[in-house]
Symmetry: C2
Subunit: 376 residues, 2 copies
């Protein structure tokens, strides 16, 4: 059987690939942007979920953002003490959070209700530790958080001034930036994010609650922000690998996407204009991204996109590749067994389908295997 040349010949597919050169470029670019603006970089580990990867992303003052307590425990085990858990905390998780603080982690929680703030204080008290928390501010009407400068923000912050808890500051996340249409619009969203969190901190400081942490961030807003005045740190995650959503937003080029799925041709339906591959939704996830690339963009084994080919639909272990533009596919170029790569819509979602990365060097050869931590 004629197999097209592949730099990772014989790799069993599907497999998750991480191109180290692109990854390292992404890390440098973001570190420069954030640190040259005079604020601290607090990378979010939820995209890569892999210490070998995010340890390379740390800024000069090591600190991370996490989305699960498992990530927090893994960060602490890998030597990072300053950890922000940036999801509203559920009371059933507090004993585990307190245990990590007891062991020496400087773990900060996030709350946006008086109830949650009281639960934090109660759990800290019960465990005999002090649990610090930030108040989450809503800067874009997108998800969680209380309004900047509101009575509620003050009430939540005050509820943290109790034995067992400690008010530490404010954070916000403009997830709405993912829906922006241009870099200018994203810059506007970044300014909303900055203003919301800085004004929130000012109002709380006036009421006698000064903020040690004033935190904003998403990869798009931090990339295009024109000012970080008053902000102490930036939280960013997906910039490490980038993905098609980031490329569509203009945050990166397709060449910057460090993550892809290695796959093999397993069949063809020439009459229907379809190539079948062994990367179904189990490998790609069902994340629709911007809706412009099916479940991912099809590349050769070196990562170069092939025409307009995308994974237009998928079953669990079958991906169906078509040309959305209706271009003729040279089926002879896609023998069974040919190695291909697929660029993901959303790196966080595609990564989560795998338990390890095959790390590629400059020539696209496998140079290492890095494990991921999934679950909670």
């Amino acid at each position: 059987m004629s197999l097209y040349k592949s730099p990772y010949e014989g790799l069993e597919t599907p497999a998750l690939l991480l191109s180290r050169p692109a990854f390292e470029r992404n890390l440098s670019r973001m570190r420069s942007k954030v640190e040259s603006a005079g604020l601290a970089l607090r990378p979010h580990v939820k995209t890569v979920k892999c210490a070998q990867a995010w340890l390379r992303a740390l800024g000069s003052a090591p600190r991370v953002t996490v989305s699960t307590l498992l990530e927090a425990e893994d960060a602490f085990a890998n030597g990072v003490v300053d950890i922000l858990y940036a999801v509203g905390i559920a009371p059933s998780k507090l004993a585990r959070a307190a245990a990590l603080v007891e062991r020496g982690a400087d773990l900060t929680l996030a709350v946006d209700t008086v109830e949650a703030a009281r639960a934090v204080a109660a759990a800290g008290g019960a465990a005999g530790v002090t649990l610090p928390a930030v108040v989450e501010i809503d800067s874009d009407g997108h998800r969680a958080g209380v309004a900047s400068g509101s009575e509620l923000a003050l009430a939540v912050a005050r509820a943290l001034k109790a034995p067992g808890a400690r008010f530490r500051g404010v954070m916000t996340h403009a997830g709405g930036s993912y829906a922006c249409g241009s870099p200018d619009e994203i810059a506007g969203m970044a300014e909303r994010e900055r203003a919301a969190v800085v004004n929130a901190a000012a109002a709380l400081a006036e009421a006698g609650l000064p903020s040690e942490i004033i935190s904003m961030g998403s990869t798009p807003t931090v990339t295009f922000a024109r000012s970080f005045a008053g902000v102490t740190e930036a939280r960013v995650g997906v910039y490490m690998t980038m993905d098609l959503v980031m490329a569509d937003l203009g945050v990166c080029s397709t060449d910057d996407i460090a993550l892809s799925v290695a796959t093999s041709v397993i069949g063809r339906q020439p009459l229907r204009g379809e190539i079948l591959i062994d990367a179904g939704w189990m490998a790609m996830s069902r994340d629709p991204g911007s809706g412009r690339h099916g479940l991912g963009r099809v590349c050769d084994a070196f990562g170069a996109p092939i025409g307009d080919l995308v994974v237009s639909s998928a079953n669990q272990e079958h991906g169906i590749v078509t040309s959305p533009g209706g271009g003729a596919i040279a089926f002879d170029d896609f023998p069974v067994g040919r190695a291909l790569r697929v660029l993901p819509n959303h790196a966080c979602a595609t990564g989560a389908q795998f338990d390890r990365y095959h790390v590629l060097d400059e020539a696209g050869r496998i140079e290492a295997i890095w494990p991921r931590i999934n679950g909670w």
Copy 2:
């Protein structure tokens, strides 16, 4: 904090729940339907990916269907010898498949190209084993397979008559049944599936290639099929847990859905009519299902749906619950920490986000933890 009563109080969320009573009912119903029709049941392990679960589903002649070689190895380790790998095989997987046959597994592969059939024979020859394979027949224009009775079907089957390989029969899968509008339409699809595979076997038998395996199946078609004449076995998987897609197709009732995600309220946005929970897309998957329930239907901790509440959108670890009908939500009934459950659109996709099941008894209490095997 007032927590609503939950039968699994204190469980850290999100967690994957499997209600054993509903699960056992689903198994009995399908086993009766298939075995009373005089054919063999070959359950597909890809939905549950858990030997403790699928061992309970075996028919009187133990055999399983798998979608990955990891599932095949796990089945063999759990005492099942007769295994059908029902995805077109990629050549890079053949050495591993041959090793399993070498160890004593009766592993049957699936092919739908002459190239793949030749690769199977070559790999069997190289490993000094005989690799049996079925020819996949396309019964619905949906995905893989060759046309029933075609020259190509004959050519693929003949390519398996070579040292290192063995022609074993035919299989088909009417994935198109998921798009049917009524049980009658599904019954029609089942008849197409039956006719395609039986006619394919007849044509091959006439050419001197008799089929030992004549296999059809999907949960919808096997549920509503009026005849299995000429078929030797039925392949079904999602019936074990059911899900909202199956309920929407009329295959089951909501009460039959044995799988759900345990979650906790983590916040509220009363002005926007939103409850925030800690089951985001990382817990639910992004599978859109029929498009009628967001990412899943919200129930109380005992599994009873609450009005028309659904997870209407999600981020990685945040689910946003709304009433699509615009009904007022009694926010006082959703304190931070309240235990809820979410029914999944697609059990295969939601299950894949977790590494274990919390198995619930009749009263909804946790009686066991069963591990899943994810990955490849």
